[in-house]
Amino acid sequence: MQQTRRLFLKGSMALLALASLPRTLLAAVWPKDSFDSTSASGALNALLGADVTTPSDQIAMKVPEIAENGAVVPVSITTSLENVESISIVVNKNPRPLAASFEIPPGTLPKIACRIKMGETSEVMAVVKTSSGIFSTSREVKVTIGGCGG
């Protein structure tokens, strides 16, 4: 009984999703394995098929030195590399290191900004995949435990 009900719920939810989703969304697949991976290399392997990245000074990542609050850490990444296919943010010490991954179609600038959560002080790596390889740059972001919390 429980079982079937849960199945039914799942089904109906999927339907609801399908119904209201734009076509484009159905095309793109959320890289579950990469996001579930508990290691940075595991995540990159699952996402890009390799965990070796070439350090590049053509990637500019703006992150704070000391995060005011680990729950909201502003990250912005831009690169002068050519033919960028995707930009990903990896937080090595997070339980699941891959925080977000952005697919960049032709015409879209390799320039993104978002806000992420960090559990503790960690290297934050910007990983840029281009037609000619996988490049990265890293910065350490300190996460401190507050006193009275601003």
Binding site: I145, G147, C148, G150
Partner: protein, 279 residues
């Protein structure tokens, strides 16, 4: 009997000290502002409206990034909807706040001429609801905070303009009570508001830098990254009192309303810039 006498003596003594210990509100404020000017000579007066971000550069950049598209925008929308909704009698909040679409935030808290009590924006909102037969909103709850956020938003840039009328003794009494609260050490840690936010402003408490009290009330309510939600000024008071391990007073209690009255008067002339984003 002896104790009674002692009590009386102290009564008299206290009253005397109490009298001459007090400069007027205007002098208090001048001294308050002057203190921070000499403490942080490079910080222009208007900057104090930005709280700790007037002092902490690294934090300021993160804050500015968040303020480019702050999460409280959803709250402002909610507040606008509430503000524009009609009461069953066809009237609206604006009818209580002298038709003000232009902000009125800068005039609160004020002393209500009838009751002689300090009326904050929050109590004024509930008084308006009462007047139109509506149940009071829960202080610190989503709706009243959203309304305050919207009312602050439409008041942005208006200089805070609180008066402690000399011909209203109850106003002066409320001001003095708030002032006493502000400078009184309390709790197991034995801190006063001033210990942290005057004497130690800009210093670190573990990982946090202490903000200056000048400008404290200008930007509330705030969206806090810590809770991922909106926090009213009195909720913040409550948090501070808790932090020094004293039992907090109720939101909108007389103690907190009088404190807000004193604190906001100290910030006269600074621009309203609420709602704000804070850690």
């Amino acid at each position: 009997m002896v104790r009674l006498a002692a009590g009386c003596l102290i009564f008299v003594a206290t009253v005397m000290v109490y009298q001459d210990a007090f400069a007027g509100p205007a002098e208090d404020r001048q001294a308050f502002v002057a203190y921070f000017e000499s403490r942080f000579p490079n910080i222009p007066f208007d900057e104090y409206a930005n709280g700790i971000y007037a002092i902490d550069q690294d934090a300021r950049e993160q804050w500015q990034e968040i303020e480019t598209f702050p999460p409280y925008e959803f709250t402002i929308d909610q507040g606008r909807d509430l503000w524009e909704a009609k009461f069953p009698d066809g009237q609206m909040y604006s009818d209580c706040f002298n038709g003000a679409e232009i902000g009125v935030r800068q005039f609160y808290p004020r002393v209500d001429p009838q009751s002689g009590e300090v009326e904050t924006l929050a109590t004024a909102i509930n008084r308006c609801r009462e007047k139109h037969g509506q149940a009071s909103l829960k202080y610190g709850g989503d709706e009243i905070v959203a309304l305050s956020a919207y009312m602050s938003f439409v008041s942005r840039g208006q200089p805070i303009n609180i008066s402690v009328s000399s011909d209203e003794p109850r106003a002066l009494a409320a001001y003095e009570d708030g002032k006493r609260f502000y400078y009184t050490k309390r709790g197991q840690l034995n801190f006063s508001c001033a210990d942290c936010h005057v004497a130690s402003a800009g210093q670190y408490v573990r990982a946090d830098r202490l903000s200056a009290s000048l400008g404290h009330p200008t930007h509330f309510p705030v969206y806090r990254s810590k809770t991922g939600g909106m926090v009213s000024l009195h909720q913040r008071f409550s948090g501070c009192v808790r932090d020094v391990r004293a039992k907090p007073f109720a939101l909108q209690s007389r103690e907190f309303r009088n404190l807000e009255y004193f604190l906001t008067y100290m910030s006269n002339g600074l621009g309203v810039n609420g709602p704000g984003a804070r850690k």
